[in-house]
Point group: C2
Chain length 111, copies 2
């Protein structure tokens, strides 16, 4: 049973374009907060807040290295979020299958 | 190219346990706002707000039937959200593959 608060935090962390771009960037390797802030066109303070949200969700981990904070992809990943979405995707597909069957039935009645 | 605002809205809509439960319930068929509010233990007004968030994200559609508002799963589904998560899941897997290769290498050095 997936902890609901973990899902809350994962989905909330993903609901922002800047944070999704950070995950994409970290997929290429670690980066400091400044290195993440510059291409995003936001301040270091602003980026630090986004990174904190990602860190609280377990999607990013950070480590102080000398005077800078290095960020990398966290260990938790998106397994739970993906499992959740897959499950509900099946509900949608079933709903569409039902609609399809209904339309086929209607077609048979009309002919 | 997926519209970023659509993803923002989808993930934000999914970041709440009550709203995820509503999608699960609607997977079994349509329901009124009152029918959704009761098992959630919240007011009809509170549930109407949650349904509005889901509707704005295209995950639920509603229709006024007489004096009540009937809700059902929306047409958009979670394809884009799932595609996004799948893509980033691969980044994570690649990162773990890299770590695995590193540990194997270390093991070779140690022996």
């Amino acid at each position: 049973m997936v902890e609901q608060r973990v899902l809350d935090r994962s989905f909330a962390a993903l609901s922002d374009q800047t944070r999704r771009a950070v995950l994409a960037r970290l997929g290429d390797g670690p980066a400091t907060i400044s290195e993440l802030a510059e291409p995003a066109g936001i301040t270091v303070t602003g980026m630090a807040k986004h990174v904190k949200v990602l860190e609280d969700a377990g999607l990013v981990s950070t480590q102080k290295v000398g005077r800078v904070r290095e960020c990398r992809l966290g260990s938790e990943g998106l397994d739970d979020a993906m499992a959740w979405i897959s499950f509900y995707q099946r509900l949608w597909d079933r709903r569409l299958d039902g609609l399809d069957a209904f339309l086929t039935l209607q077609k048979g009645h009309d002919s």
